[in-house]
Symmetry: C2
């Protein structure tokens, strides 16, 4: 998550909503890195998770990322969550909750694993740091 | 839809699940074209709709595609449907139904517009041609 936070900081520096993500394989090796590039690339499929997963797929030469985990600084949105499921990752670790856009839509109860197949979801890791970065970003934006 | 079917045929020729999509702006001008490239690019974010929407965003220099419509030969999956919603398109016209992976998950009742905000959804346009292409593709795959 430390490395995902560094990528989120880079998004912040590039004036993008500060979200970073990394994909690690079953040996714990990083095979994909991504930061939010929605404004730079003019498309919503440039979320941090999309970029990290696309890079991982390219690296391993397969869209199937079985056994891999994604670490992302913000709760994934529904788009990214579907991408994670379709890419067959093993699990998701995320930082700050996203009550407005997160796939849980602000629900606080633990995610039912049945609902998401065998995907494991671990929320709120390093959440304060990820959240502070986001809050600082939006405070600057509102002032601008 | 005719142009989307041509793109689907190109996906077929490239040994990809044959799906094609185009994005048109409010003047009816094509601003994005995409065909399925999941195998070529090794990622599930290379669905036809993703590629067409990414190209449209690049073309207009904005991820917000308000007033635009997407024409796609197959019912979008949930990933693509969320992308369509987040990219603020006005509507979706699709061809064949996708009972296994479509965002309606095989439900046949008309989509509630309330559930999808103001997005308009028009199903089953040129469906037989789109479906025939898909069926032929999977028949070949099973034989191989």
């Amino acid at each position: 998550m430390e490395k995902a936070l560094i990528l989120a900081q880079r998004a912040f520096d590039a004036d993008e909503v500060p979200v970073g993500a990394i994909v690690v394989n079953s040996q714990g090796k990083i095979i994909g890195r991504g930061r939010n590039k929605v404004e730079e690339r003019h498309t919503q499929i440039a979320h941090a998770e999309c970029n990290a997963i696309a890079q991982a797929g390219k690296k391993v030469g397969d869209w199937r990322l079985e056994g891999c985990w994604i670490y992302v600084t913000l709760e994934p949105c529904s788009l990214c969550m579907h991408l994670i499921l379709m890419s067959r990752l093993k699990g998701v670790v995320f930082g700050a909750s996203s009550p407005l856009f997160g796939f849980r839509l602000g629900l606080q109860e633990p995610l039912s694993l049945d609902k998401k197949g065998n995907l494991m979801v671990i929320p709120n890791i390093s959440a304060p740091r990820a959240a502070t970065l986001l809050k600082t970003f939006f405070k600057h934006k509102r002032k601008a």
